[in-house]
């Protein structure tokens, strides 16, 4: 059994006690200590900035041309915080409870409670940085609802909340760069962790412009490198998002936890053809006002506007009257798949459902009429007023939809379908966010700890910033306090020689294959295998087939991939090849994990384990654990378990009816 080093005491007191008793590093020593931060999204930028402010010498790395581009920027809907500004019954406990329940009782209580505790500080910090959150006319912060909750606790900046939060963290990071506390390495990719005496003491990074390999020493290495959703090829992730840093850590001994816990987001723009390179999310906030439906008749070919009200099936409202369109993501996605598989899908592909704003536009129009004290207003004018309101709330999302599909969502219902969006699994970390390799940490989406088997909307931003601003600045000190006695290690140390040599050899091997197929074509094939067999629903037979298919694909990749260009130059195909090689290995582990977990929970739905009405059927007796995998050889992993103890919440069948 793995030990998560959760502090003793009452759940409410654990974090307070921890902070009160953890070891500290004095300012003079901090100045002498280098820390490496890989990734500059919300977790990485906030960690690098905060550690820089504390006085550590930080080296931050990102593969993009600027730290501001990290994919946190694309988060749309919002960030949760237990502020209870709306007086609607929110509290730290309720946010904690909703997150545990939303995660289908597969998250660690102590971590989630800490997340809920610091959530309010995050909002304060961001406001202080000048993040322009949405406000009410009285000048105070505005909130909205999100899936899986019954309170309004989501703070937002139109449909660009991730952008605004990331720019806040990025600016804090650039301030530390200007002050000399952080050195920024853009267009750099981490290609290995360097371990000395069992501890992470540095990395090998590739300068993506020159192709040179670089050695960097650090007393600790923080991986803030996001999730692995791109293993599916088509996902809402950015094209460059990858698992490489986390996978290299895994190969160096860090356990990978719950890799099969992936989130399929219910509201994305459907696939339009084979050329498709990525999928675009339409924020979950659209489910606040939009109504989801399909025709009651199978294979209905009429246009949406021609289908009368009584012939529409608002299936979420029908199946889940208490939460309606605001059920959690896993539930909403499966319900959409169920309808489409049963022949009720819409659009040319029949793999889509409608998200309709007509009712919301009319309702808002009437409210505006009331506010303005108008009477005898013609219907068209009510609609026009309603459209204005919807435009203010969701304008950028509607524009995005129109650009991609060429349709006007103010006039016709949007067509949506589930797509891969987030990965709850990730590197196993203890309470301090340290992996099983001492000195190696994982923050944000890169770790597994807070979202269990399903993440609630507006909680990813919260977790990334919690880890970076408010958790790791404390927990890292507790470990670095013991490192002050150790002198910095020069990068001429044999461990660096060896690591660099291994990385160089792998690159050379890839380049030398000189086969016939592009990296992209392998990635597409991998994505199809994983999507079909380890996507929205999984089965024993399918997973076994997928494992064999992925193993065969790996063999083919390493004998027939073609990488044009040179090693020592800017070569995006080479960068991609390094990443896809790792995705292939991870894909296999995901299937291994999904096969091992003989239950359904959250985003992990095994066809063999469901209730009579098609809901996920958990098996708490046998699977109330975190599955943490240790790599032991080619295609081989050893399972380690962390038992999940629910001391405060009593797990029950999730019910959103």
């Amino acid at each position: 059994m793995l030990n998560a080093k959760i502090p003793a005491g009452n759940l409410d007191d654990k974090w307070v006690d921890y902070k009160g008793h953890c070891k500290l590093v004095n300012p003079a020593n901090k100045r002498k200590m280098e820390v490496i931060v890989v990734g500059t999204g919300l977790a990485g930028a906030s960690a690098a900035a905060s550690l820089g402010e504390l006085g550590y010498k930080v080296k931050a790395f990102c593969f993009q041309d600027s730290p501001r581009r990290a994919h946190s920027i694309a988060a749309q809907g919002g960030i949760n915080a237990a502020k209870n500004y709306q007086n609607d019954g929110d509290s730290v406990f309720r946010l904690f409870y909703d997150t545990i329940k939303g995660g289908d009782y597969r998250a660690r209580e102590a971590n989630v409670h800490r997340l809920a505790e610091v959530s309010a500080n995050i909002i304060d910090q961001c406001v202080a940085q000048g993040v322009p959150f949405a406000r009410e006319y009285g000048g105070l912060l505005s909130n909205r609802s999100f899936g899986g909750t019954q309170v309004q606790r989501t703070f937002y900046a139109a449909g660009q909340t991730g952008q605004q939060l990331l720019i806040g963290a990025y600016q804090a990071l650039e301030r530390q760069v200007a002050l000399g506390n952080v050195t920024m390495y853009s267009r750099h990719e981490m290609l290995d962790v360097v371990k000395i005496d069992g501890k992470a003491k540095g990395i090998i990074a590739r300068n993506l412009v020159s192709g040179e390999l670089e050695r960097h020493f650090g007393y600790a290495v923080l991986l803030c490198t996001g999730g692995y959703g791109n293993v599916f090829y088509l996902s809402t992730n950015a094209m460059g998002s990858n698992v490489t840093a986390a996978w290299k850590a895994h190969k160096q001994g860090a356990y990978f936890a719950n890799p099969c816990f992936t989130q399929i987001h219910p509201t994305c723009i459907p696939v339009s053809g084979d050329h498709q390179s990525k999928l675009t999310l339409m924020s979950e906030s659209l489910r606040n006002d939009g109504r989801i439906w399909v025709p009651k008749k199978q294979n209905d070919t009429r246009k949406a506007n021609e289908i009368p009200e009584e012939e529409r099936d608002y299936y979420l409202e029908r199946r889940y009257p208490a939460f309606g369109n605001l059920v959690p993501r896993d539930v909403a996605s499966r319900a959409a798949k169920e309808r489409c598989d049963a022949g009720y899908g819409v659009g040319t592909s029949k793999q889509a459902v409608y998200l309709d704003y007509a009712a919301a536009i009319e309702r808002y129009g009437k409210t505006e009429v009331g506010k303005k004290g108008l009477s005898n207003v013609p219907h068209e004018e009510i609609i026009a007023l309603g459209k204005e309101v919807v435009k203010e709330k969701y304008g950028n999302l509607f524009d995005m939809y129109a650009k991609i599909t060429g349709e006007n969502p103010y006039e016709v219902p949007m067509r949506i379908y589930p797509a891969v969006h987030y990965t709850m699994g990730g590197l196993w970390v203890d309470y301090e966010l340290q992996t099983t390799v001492p000195g190696l940490y994982a923050l944000g989406e890169a770790n597994f700890s807070d979202h269990g088997a399903n993440r609630l909307g507006a909680s990813a931003l919260m977790q990334g910033l919690a880890d970076g601003y408010f958790v790791v600045p404390y927990t890292i000190g507790n470990n670095l306090a013991d490192e002050i006695y150790n002198a910095p290690i020069p990068t001429s140390h044999p461990a660096f020689d060896e690591a660099e040599k291994a990385v160089a050899e792998r690159i050379q091997t890839l380049k030398n294959i000189n086969g016939k197929q592009s990296v992209e074509s392998f990635h597409k094939r991998l994505g199809k295998i994983i999507w079909n067999e380890c996507g929205m629903s999984r089965s024993e037979a399918g997973l076994k087939k997928a494992i064999a298919d992925v193993q065969a694909l790996k063999k083919e990749f390493w004998s027939d991939v073609r990488i044009p260009g040179e090693i020592n130059e800017y070569n995006p195909e080479l960068d991609k090849a390094n990443r896809v090689a790792d995705f292939i290995e991870l894909g296999e582990l995901m299937c291994v994990d999904a096969l091992n977990r003989n239950e359904s929970c959250g985003g992990h739905f095994r066809e063999e384990y469901q209730t009579p009405d098609g809901e996920a059927l958990r098996d708490d007796e046998n699977f109330m654990y975190v599955a943490a995998w240790e790599t032991t050889g080619e295609h081989q992993w050893q399972l380690h378990k962390e038992e999940l103890k629910y001391e405060v919440i009593k797990p029950s069948q999730r019910n959103y009816k």
Binding site: D65, Q125, Q129, A238, E407
Partner: protein, 253 residues
Amino acid sequence: MSHNTMNLKLKVWRQKNANTAGAFKTYEVNDISDEMSFLEMLDVLNEKLIVTGDEPIAFDHDCREGICGMCSLYIDGKPHGPWQANTTCQLHMRAFKDGDTITIEPWRSNAFPIVKDLTVDRGAFDRIIQAGGYVSVNTGNAVDGNSLPIEKDKADAAFAAAMCIGCGACVAACKNSSAMLFLSAKVSHLALLPQGDPERKSRVLNMVAQMDKEGFGSCTNTGACEAACPKEISIANIARLNKEYLRAGLTVE
């Protein structure tokens, strides 16, 4: 949705690196669906180049949903191509028709050196932010978020300026390669908010000094930047920047 396919000729800028001279090269792509995005069309071309043993075209891109600011491309003489308020990654092929010749160039500015082909180095923007594009508040210093009410109109205006994605289209569109729209968006975002007030003077002076140092040109108010901006950042921000600059210059100690 019905869709059509088209055959196109592409004139693409190829350049090995910053130290090598570049040139246009012409390619043909066939059976391009009008449902594809512009970058997916380039993916198709690159796939063809790779399997035929040629070198693919390097271009920056990441989120492919118009928010990260990584994509660039000067398409038929316009940054981000023919559509208004749009990034290259959001441009779709229905903007073109069968038989078109499309010219694709990188951002052109001395302050954005070429990395390879269509990829440029926009590090100058990061350095401008480093010169003062932030509020100096360390983690943990903050008071309750609602202790500082901010007029909705001001908060909305600050947000409109903060929407800048730092792509550099404004620089590429400007005949002088001025970075005034980018800079003014950040100065406005922070000048409109009370949080930005304590550093208002030093911020604008330092950021303008850094912009000049990076080799961007001067602003002559042609408005080309605003027309090309994918996020419709208004040139009213440049007027505010000038006001802030003048105010800081006149009252500096």
